[in-house]
Amino acid sequence: MKYRIIISFVFFIAGALFIISAVKEDGYGPYKPTPLKFIIPKGWPTPPTNIFANNKLTEEGFQLGKKLFYDGRLSKDGEVSCASCHQQFAGFSTYDHDLSHGVNNTFSNRNAPALVNLAWMTAWHWDGGINNIEVQPLSPLTAANEMGETLESVLAKLKNDDEYRKMFKAAFGDATITSQRMLKALAQFTGSLVSANSKYDKVKNGETTFTDTEQKGYNIFKSNCSGCHKEPLFTDNSYHNNGLTLNRFNDIGRQKITLLSSDSLKFKVPSLRNVQYGFPYMHDGRIYSLTQVIQYYCSINTANPTLDPLLKNKITLSELQQAQLKYFLYTLTDTSFTKNKRFAP
């Protein structure tokens, strides 16, 4: 009996000390992160690198990343957030804008790429200049024609916000706000943006079937487009010259990163998931509609010496076939992604 009293007393003291020590420092409560499992959709390849290997995915990190993603204060004028150019309803691309809008009525030189299935990539941006998902936000944050802010200033704003201090503590164990933690949290959010529940996926999983038109379109797709837009991600994450002429910004694409003349005018193959909402298209948004994109590929000058070899065979599609292809592409629309409340602010 005596022991029981002593033991329970010891437990009581230990428990009380634990709670006191956890709470006393910053008043933000104990650090109890909730681990999240990154799920690879059925039938999909394993990502080439595990982007969360050194960035443990947790609910708290994800939520912090989401808050940062939607926060306009990350920009110089407080108006431009990541979400300004990566809109969820457009599959995290920019709806109806050829070029991204930056602070002070500036334009960037490129069309904002859709943030989808980023965990399967090994390089980011149209030219693949970004070598790790964690460092990607540094580019739009500091570019004068995007968010126009300095890293120092962003961190100062976050440090002055009690809610952020609380969320950094919840995600990383203490309320210290550093660029590393901010970038890792953003990567937890953007890396979690997985779209794998379109009609196409449901057909692949045997849950439904294509209509006759969609099936015909799928066949056309497989024989004309899948060389670069490889299933199931609908990109092979490589760089190709699809014959588009040099634009007014002299954007040479991949060559700027590698300095190789053989990379001139090569751009990264975008995923076609949610492509229905991704208009305008191409790296500079020069083609407005999906119909026009298909027409473009049917009208490429195959004599162009720098054209990618995969496009050297002229694509010839009747108007009906073009429409069938378009209806197939619509099956890549995943409204459970574009309307997922978990990804919304």
Partner: protein
Amino acid sequence: MNKKLLPYLFSVVIIFIALGLSAFYNSPKKTGRLIIHFIYMADGKKINKDSIYTNAFGETYSISKLKYYVSNVQLNNFKEKESYYLVNALAEDSIVLNIPAGNYSNFNFLLGVDSLKNCSGAQSGALDPLNDMFWTWNSGYVMFKMEGKSSASNADQQRIEQHIGGYKGAYKTMRQINLQLENAITVSPNENTSLTIKVNLDKYWKGINEIRIAESPVLMTISEKSKNAADNFAGMFSVANSDQSSPKER
């Protein structure tokens, strides 16, 4: 208290005491501090923000910023793990190493950041992008950054901006610097030893390769010229003196 438990308790206490004592006695107290100073010379003068120098091509210039990375520090067989230092020349930064006591005759380091760390995501400390030594549009560290002005520069406001970076293939710009110490230095336990390295900036402009301000006032992308500039790094560094226990001497 149950008497049967007492011997167990006693032995547990003894084990803890023993562990504590052994940790205390075995703790590596046999390290000393090596303080590495750098002196920067240009045109025969110690550099500062106000001076004007002339390079081998007769081009005059000033230096307002000079920062570079020193990493993977090695003294003879001692390699410092995870060692990345951002040296700010105009702040007269020195590097302090805690190294095992002993005699050392080699001081080797990488000027720049190894390729792995260039693509390992968000970093902290010396490698924090806050230090303004990271390219945001073509990921990778600026290994060496020198800024100033020159009447020979045709860039905006006669600037010089030598941001030397690139970590891949033919365009990589980190360079191994191996220095032989003529007089071996002795690092004694718990004592300060200093080593002074001379950095001759004349060699930046004219070393193995020639970098003319008139031709390349601004280098801030991976390029053949940046690679050529990096080839001059090794020639810039030499041992000035090694001096026992007098870290204030420069």
